[in-house]
């Protein structure tokens, strides 16, 4: 069976830029990870910071004094108090930790002989890189000493000669042979380029910026006497000879001003070509040494308060250790993770989408073994918040939907995650509760009211009242369809089942003469809109806005209401505005929470609450503490989930069709009462409106269940129905136990893939339920 589409997964992964280099590292031609280095400084570990620094920088002492630090120009802290003084911090690190520097060459089983012509920063960087790789390197320098330019270009106060000497000492320790006053020319002889080429496996030219007429004849030169070379591969006219290029800094500038770190980059680039050549590898394949560049890591700088740059108390000595630590603490550090900050699900697994996507794809590819990301995949509520926040519109909901579909196709979906919700959906679609009728007395239908399975389950009287309102306002007949839109099947990744639901809905709609559909539920609106292309589907709220508001309003709760939009209606702007107008019409003073586009899920979305209630409770708990006012919603599940977590919440229909003195205190009906409400609703509607004879199903057993026991059952997803079935079976003679200590009967019953246990006592004509629990595993005594 088909797994996830690898190309699609790659495209998703690429959208999350969290792993891109931060601005400082992207701007540094050597891509020093300043963020990681500063992190260590911040923690007071300058030795570890120095290790990060020296791993990338060939001349730590020199660079700490004279680096032209393009990282600082790029640093995003500039927008909030001033760019980090990365250069000055590096100097403090070097002061503190230089003695810990240990250079050693790798063991190389086939060391080669390499001549480097030119002992400036570029040539010596190349020599260093190749020596570290275990090659035998000889440097030929025309001047009396290497790095001559540094000795006279810089004031000793800026670059103390001792710093140069220290770094050069490290080169000798690596075994690099530096020959001075050794000016190489073309042709033959001990310093003739032709002889050097013959005597070495490769030659690297690092002549700096000046012309090299002295090399004419041995290799090809340009018209202005520079080495003729390919800037990408560093190849020259001779296959064994490579040359260091001239860095483009700042990015895009052909040849910018001299940059010490740029020169080191040039040498490193040429050394990489030499190394590839010596290994017989391609000079260009998979080569991404892009030098100094821009970062595409998104950083929300506005989140950070400005902090002023730390000024050294003795400017000519640079930062003290303490000052360096204080300055390093100003590094944000740069990261995106905007979505992670907003979503409790993303936060709870400790990483960020790029990593999650990789894990999900790996999980998908597992043939044998533990699929340890299953639960994570089923914990996303597919609410779309991350996509709204992400600078690249990455939607984790899309990713997990594909993952779930693949799990279902391959039979890897853990049954416990969605069984309960799918069973609830099957019930909502069953003949016991679903029905479709043209308006009482009508044969044709211009409209169809589709309240959605949850509104009717949560507050059936509202479905009935809205239906009466619509019949009064709309001409041409308003049919009624009580059914489920199929969202649970879609969210569960059950494509086949979802297809069946859609086909059944289409058939109902066709049978009623293809009326215009009006729904009260944001999820139904979204689902029918997406999967019933032929249907015209409208939201109840926009219809009301157009046809006039229903009359009669509740006594308002005191104070303002904070409005929460359902996540499935994140972009339904007309609906959002109609609801707000409606609330105003009802006299409510409404204030915004995050605004509709940044709304969160109540946990029902994506069926996340069934796979990971811990995470969805966190999502809801965070949402309900955003404002102390009562919440106003227009989704039954949002309202009930807020109520379940202890937040006073209203459905807007609680205001429009008053019932009870304090509708915001209405408790969450829970799954069992929702089922009862659905059953009763069908019987009542068909009897009252259509004059059919339907008896309200009455429970066979009189069960007494205390509120706390009921809440505990809800948490465990155990229905009163399951408990009743268990008690009934036991009383009819099924095996059961007596707990003599507690004086209770303990019974179990297997229904479908679940065994339900109940502790109960008989009381009068009925039974008192003390607790219930369930499991999926089957246990049987082994025949002895």
């Amino acid at each position: 069976m088909q797994g996830m589409d690898g190309d699609q997964v790659k495209a998703w992964e690429a959208r999350c830029i969290e792993e891109q280099l931060p601005a400082c590292a992207a701007a540094c031609p050597l891509h020093l990870d300043a963020r990681a280095m500063l992190e260590k400084v911040k923690a007071g570990d300058l030795v570890a910071a120095f290790a990060i620094y020296a791993r990338v920088i060939p001349f730590p002492a020199i660079v700490s004094h004279i680096c032209d630090h393009p990282c600082e120009t790029a640093c995003r802290r500039a927008e909030a108090g001033g760019a980090l003084r990365i250069g000055a911090i590096e100097r403090a690190i070097v002061e503190d930790a230089y003695p810990t520097l240990k250079r050693s060459a790798q063991r190389n089983r086939k060391p080669k002989r390499i001549a480097v012509i030119g002992g400036g920063l570029a040539g010596l960087t190349a020599a260093y890189d190749l020596a570290v790789k275990g090659h035998a390197v000889t440097v030929y320098e025309g001047d009396a000493r290497p790095l001559e330019r540094l000795y006279h270009d810089y004031d000793a106060a800026v670059l103390p000669p001792s710093a140069i000497d220290a770094d050069l000492g490290q080169l000798s320790a690596l075994g690099i042979d530096i020959r001075c006053r050794a000016r190489v020319t073309s042709g033959r002889g001990p310093l003739g380029l032709d002889d050097l080429i013959d005597a070495h496996d490769a030659v690297l030219l690092a002549p700096g910026r000046g012309p090299v007429p002295n090399l004419a004849g041995s290799i090809r030169l340009t018209i202005d006497n520079r080495v003729y070379m390919d800037a990408d591969s560093c190849a020259t006219s001779h296959p064994k000879v490579f040359a260091s290029p001239l860095h483009k800094m700042p990015p895009g500038v052909e040849v910018g001003p001299y940059s010490p770190v740029g020169a080191m980059y040039d040498g490193r680039k040429a050394a990489l070509s030499v190394d590839r050549f010596l290994q017989g590898a391609s000079l260009t394949a998979n080569r991404v040494d892009d030098g100094s560049g821009d970062s595409c890591l998104y950083v929300n700088v506005a989140r950070h308060d400005p902090v002023a740059i730390v000024e050294p108390s003795a400017p000519d000595q640079g930062y003290s250790r303490t000052e360096a630590i204080a300055e390093a603490a100003r590094c944000f550090p740069c990261e995106c993770k905007e979505c992670v900050r907003a979503c409790e699900f993303l936060k709870s697994y400790g990483l960020y989408p790029k990593r999650y996507i990789r894990e999900i794809y790996n999980n998908d590819g597992i043939i044998m073994g533990n699929r340890k990301s299953n639960k994570m995949i089923d914990s996303c509520s597919m609410c779309g918040l991350c996509a709204d926040i992400c600078p690249n519109d990455l939607s984790m909901g899309d990713v997990v939907l594909e993952a779930r579909r693949s799990m279902v196709r391959r039979g890897h979906m853990p049954p416990s995650h969605h069984d309960f919700a799918l069973r609830d959906m099957a019930f909502a679609r069953s003949d016991e509760v679903a029905f479709a009728r043209p308006a009482p007395g009508a044969t044709t239908s211009a409209y169809l009211f589709f309240p959605g399975c949850q509104l009717t389950a949560s507050s059936p009287q509202h479905s009935a009242e809205i239906y009466a309102y619509l019949r009064e306002r709309l001409p041409g007949g308003v049919a009624f369809v009580q059914d489920c839109c199929g969202a649970p099947a879609h969210w569960a990744g059950r494509e086949e089942l979802h297809g069946e639901v859609n086909a059944a809905l289409t058939a109902r709609w066709e049978a009623l003469g293809r009326p215009e559909v009006i729904t009260a539920c944001a999820s139904c609106l979204k689902m029918l809109g997406a999967f019933q292309p032929e249907m015209t589907v409208r939201s109840l709220w926009t219809v009301m806005e157009e046809k006039g508001w229903p009359t009669g309003a509740a006594p308002l709760p005191s104070g303002a209401l904070a409005i929460h939009d359902p996540c499935t209606g994140r972009y339904a702007k007309d609906v959002q505005s109609a609801v707000r107008t409606f609330a105003g019409h009802l006299g409510a003073e409404v204030r915004e929470l995050s605004g509709a586009e940044r709304t969160t899920c109540c946990g029902f979305g994506g069926l996340a609450q069934f796979a990971n209630a811990e995470v969805t409770d966190k999502i809801v708990d965070r949402r309900i503490t955003e404002d102390s006012a009562d919440y106003l919603t227009y989704c039954a599940m949002c309202r009930d989930n807020f109520a379940r977590r202890g937040k006073r919440a209203l459905h807007i229909l609680d205001l429009a069709f008053p019932a009870g003195a304090d509708p915001a205190a209405r408790p969450d009906p829970g799954f069992s009462r929702r089922r009862d409400n659905r059953l009763a609703f069908r019987a009542r509607m068909l009897t009252d409106l259509w004059g059919e004879t339907v008896t309200e199903p009455a429970p066979d057993l009189a069960l007494t269940i205390a509120d706390d026991v009921r809440a505990d059952m809800e948490r465990k997803l155990i229905l009163v129905e399951d408990v009743a079935r268990t008690v009934a079976a036991a009383e009819a003679g099924s095996p059961r136990f007596r707990n003599v200590a507690k004086g209770v009967t303990v019974a179990s019953h297997r229904h479908g893939s679940l065994t339900t246990w109940v502790e109960y006592t008989a009381a009068g004509d009925g039974f008192v339920v003390h607790r219930a629990w369930s499991h999926r595993m089957q246990v049987e005594a082994r025949p002895s």
Partner: protein, 72 residues
């Protein structure tokens, strides 16, 4: 996976089988989930073999084993 589920199995001494009127005893039991079978020791009626799964066991170790099998 271990072949016993000892932790949280409950105190069978308090329970009497309703039909046989004898206390439960620990005994060999076969657990099955998703086509996987394995032996465990659980309290059961020594006469008719009716097995008891306590709440602690159902929501503890047994749940973890179920989840592990679901992820296989």
């Amino acid at each position: 996976m271990s072949n016993t589920i000892p932790e949280g199995a409950g105190n069978p001494a308090d329970l009497l089988c309703f039909a046989c009127d004898v206390p439960l005893e620990m005994g060999k039991v076969e657990a099955t989930y998703l086509g996987q079978k394995f032996p465990v020791d659980l309290p059961r009626c020594p006469k008719c073999g009716f097995v008891y799964v306590s709440e602690d066991l159902a929501l503890g170790k047994m749940l973890r084993v179920e989840q592990a099998l679901e992820d296989k």
